[in-house]
Amino acid sequence: MVHITDKKIVIDDLLAEVGTAASGALNIFVGTTRNRSGERSVLWLEYEAYVPMALKKMEEIEVEARSRWPVQNITVVHRVGKVDIGEASVVIAVSSAHRDESFKACRFIIDQLKENVPIWKKEHYADGSSEWSMHQHEQPVQA
């Protein structure tokens, strides 16, 4: 299941959604907003999405992950709007019978999301200025 929300992400609620009595492993990735960007002090973040396409790409990534690994439940939530420092901007939770699949599928989903889902982050700095993030992405790692 994929979601885009302008509300604070409550991780416990997601775990209730993704956990099952049949799963033995659950891997969760939480992307949180940092108070530094390079040398600059960041006060808060703002996320914008091309919502219908972002949801479509997130669903495609979920389908692709399921075709690669025998996982049970997948939940992907991305925040939009203002996000305070230390809050979750994205949470991905993958349950599976064994741990290997949950790690690999979760990693695949965050890598794909950062490359291909039309969502943008704007950093608001302590000096009053702001900028859309143009950081070169980390290279996706094949686990």
Binding site: M53, S89, L113, M134
Partner: protein
């Protein structure tokens, strides 16, 4: 033909609008949109190939044929996550 343009994030900052329409010659491909944007503001060229286009919510290459009524989104380098 007429296409419907969408601008997000830094592309919105350059365009100054979230949506616009553009008239393109019949048979135009996505590359023509790139040229059109550069004529609006040369800074649209700064991202080079890192500025992608989505036609009807799917990424396309510059040689994608466009059709009247297409929704063409200008996708600056994404930074979600």
């Amino acid at each position: 033909m007429r296409i419907h343009l969408l601008f997000f994030a830094s592309a919105y900052d350059l365009a100054g609008v979230r949506e616009a329409t553009a008239e393109l010659a019949a048979g135009a491909r996505t590359g023509a949109v790139r040229t059109h944007l550069k004529s609006l503001d040369p800074r649209f060229a700064d991202w080079g190939d890192r500025m992608r286009f989505a036609v009807n919510r799917e990424y396309v290459l510059d040689d994608q044929a466009l059709h009247d009524g297409d929704e063409v989104a200008v996708i600056p380098p994404v930074s979600g996550g």
